[in-house]
């Protein structure tokens, strides 16, 4: 090659150079030791989460570690997506990403720094609150939770983002009663395919099993925002039942539980379902009647709440209510009106996180690990809660 630069070895010169560079003061990315860790508060999709304090400002934050071990493809795309999405989505009901920090590269970590996402700290998560029997939500407070949750979903969906991991543990609530959608580790941007355009093919391995909608369980890969709405329905019911309403052990079992609640999955109630990849492979209970309202009636006394639940837990994703329409549901516009959560929460001065709660409530089935051995599931006796 004629160009001297091209023959300059694009290999060793650089490795050594970069090693040296790691030590340089870098104004753009602070050292994570500006925070002191106080406690581990959770396990995210791609790493541990800590409560920490800014040594200078004393601000309390949450630090989420980006797991880089065994990463063959450089910086994890899931973490990159989460960062991109959170930089884009600034909303009252979406967790706020403050900055990204790193540890210094030293010979001890083989010159590989660890990265942390720094978030505003929220005192509670919904799963933690619900598992504490002392915490009681009034109807107005439940409405406030759901209104904020749907508002957050409306915001992310109108920005063309799918959350893909809706569950009570990912819904944070500050001590002032502001709800924040969190953990965008599985989230991604989506496009609305045109008529003649190629359909989208997203990965099917998303959403924690108990909150996974029927279309995903049946192998749909061109899914829509409706997958998050199903999760919202599960969470809404949980506000009264206090435990996840459908705790399947396997995908097959989850579909069974769904059919028992929402009725048999057939092309009559859900046109086109027979085209889905796993429709014929999986065993679907026949002759089940839809009993959403009937079975939840024991917990939920409010007619409008039952009506909204029924619309959120629609089997056919194209008929499932969207966040905008849901926010206009009479549930939110009839007495008692949504009530501020602050007075109720101010009675508790300890953090409530699912991670810190007794182990009975921890979900067994993280996305990406669809077939846990039943022995890993401590919740056998919990399988039917209503």
């Amino acid at each position: 090659m004629s160009d001297p630069l091209q023959s300059s070895s694009y290999t060793n010169v650089i490795t050594s150079k970069l090693k040296g560079q790691e030590d340089l003061e870098f104004p753009f990315c602070d050292d994570s030791n500006k925070y002191e860790k106080l406690a581990k508060i959770g396990q995210g999709t791609f790493g541990e989460v800590f409560k920490a304090r800014d040594k200078k400002t004393r601000q309390i934050v949450a630090m989420k570690k980006v797991l880089m071990e065994n990463e063959k493809e450089g910086f994890p795309i899931t973490a990159l997506r989460e960062i991109k999405i959170l930089q884009l989505l600034k909303n009252e009901n979406v967790v706020d990403l403050i900055e990204i920090c790193r540890t210094k590269a030293t010979p001890y970590n083989r010159f590989k720094s660890t990265f942390y996402l720094i978030f505003e700290f929220c005192e509670h998560d919904l799963a933690g609150l619900l598992s504490n029997a002392n915490v009681k939500f009034s109807l107005g407070e439940i409405k406030k939770v759901m209104q904020q949750l749907l508002n957050g979903l409306y915001f992310i969906h109108s920005n063309k983002i799918l959350h893909r991991d809706m569950k009570a543990a990912n819904i944070l609530i500050t001590k002032n009663g502001v709800l924040k959608l969190a953990d965008f580790g599985l989230a991604r941007a989506f496009s609305v395919p045109s008529q003649k355009g190629q359909p989208n093919r997203y990965t099917n391995r998303v959403v924690t099993l108990w909150y996974r909608p029927p279309e995903l369980l049946l192998g749909e890969r061109t899914y829509t925002t409706a997958i998050d709405m199903w999760g919202a329905g599960c969470i809404m019911a949980e506000m009264w039942t206090r435990s996840p309403i459908m705790q399947g052990k396997t995908e097959q079992h989850q579909l069974q539980l769904i059919s028992q609640l929402c009725g048999s999955i057939t092309p009559e109630v859900w046109p086109g379902v027979d085209q889905l990849e796993l429709y014929r492979t999986l065993e679907l209970p026949q002759g089940q009647k839809r009993k959403v309202k009937e079975r939840l009636k024991a917990y939920v006394k409010d007619q409008w709440a039952l009506d909204l639940l029924d619309k959120l837990l629609s089997l056919d994703p194209s008929k499932r209510i969207d966040s905008d329409t849901a926010l206009n549901n009479d549930f939110f516009w009839t007495d008692p009106m949504p009530t501020d959560l602050y007075p109720m929460l101010s009675r508790y001065n300890t953090s409530m996180f699912e991670y810190l709660a007794p182990p009975r409530r921890r979900g067994p089935n993280q996305p990406g690990n669809p077939n846990p051995r039943p022995t890993q599931n401590p919740d056998h006796h919990f399988e039917r809660v209503f």
């Binding site: 790691e22 910086f75 960062i83 990204i100």
Partner: protein
Amino acid sequence: MSDNEGRVHFRVVRFINESGLKLHLKSVPLAAAAIIYHKFFRDNKLKDFDPYLIGTTCLYLAAKVEEQLISLRDVVNVAYRTLHRNKPALEIGDTYYLLRDSVARCELYILRALQFKVIFNLPHKYLIHYLKFLKDWFEPYQWEELPIACTAWACLRDFYHCSVCLTYKPQHLAVGVLYFAMLCLGVEVPYHKQAELKWWKVFAEDLTIDEIKEIIKDIMSVYEMESTINT
């Protein structure tokens, strides 16, 4: 930046494009790669880095950011092949692992340099909208005959060879290449002379004819630089 450095960057972006095309990357990730590259060298000195390592890493990172994933292995192999045309292809071995590791490390370094700000507002989507819009002003046969879209698109792609691409708003750049393409083809938007509002004002209110001229001057200078660089 000295003229000489500008030429180095020109070559590296050409290398990014060539490698990227071999990897079947689309225009948007290619443009993003060039933007990351120029931003990096806006804040860092050329003498401190191997620009081809930075270029290769920009390509890899841009593909990730713009959701057209390519594997680290493919990037390393293709970049090596593009740089060393006369050598045999890269075999699995020490060199391969060293290169791979360099790119992976360099990716973290670039992410830090960018402060993890990897959302780029590119002119491509604006250009597509503007083209669709303009098409309806032309007679169908006229539009078919004139390669306005191709010329504008190619010009936009070429513009990323120089760091001046960072200076303009994406909407303005999209208008600029459109204007330039029509200038090259000797056509005007029909009824342009009678119009009260200039057509580009419809697309970008805050754009002035002087800025368009500025963009065109910069486009020309990119092509001038190309003519002084041997292949």
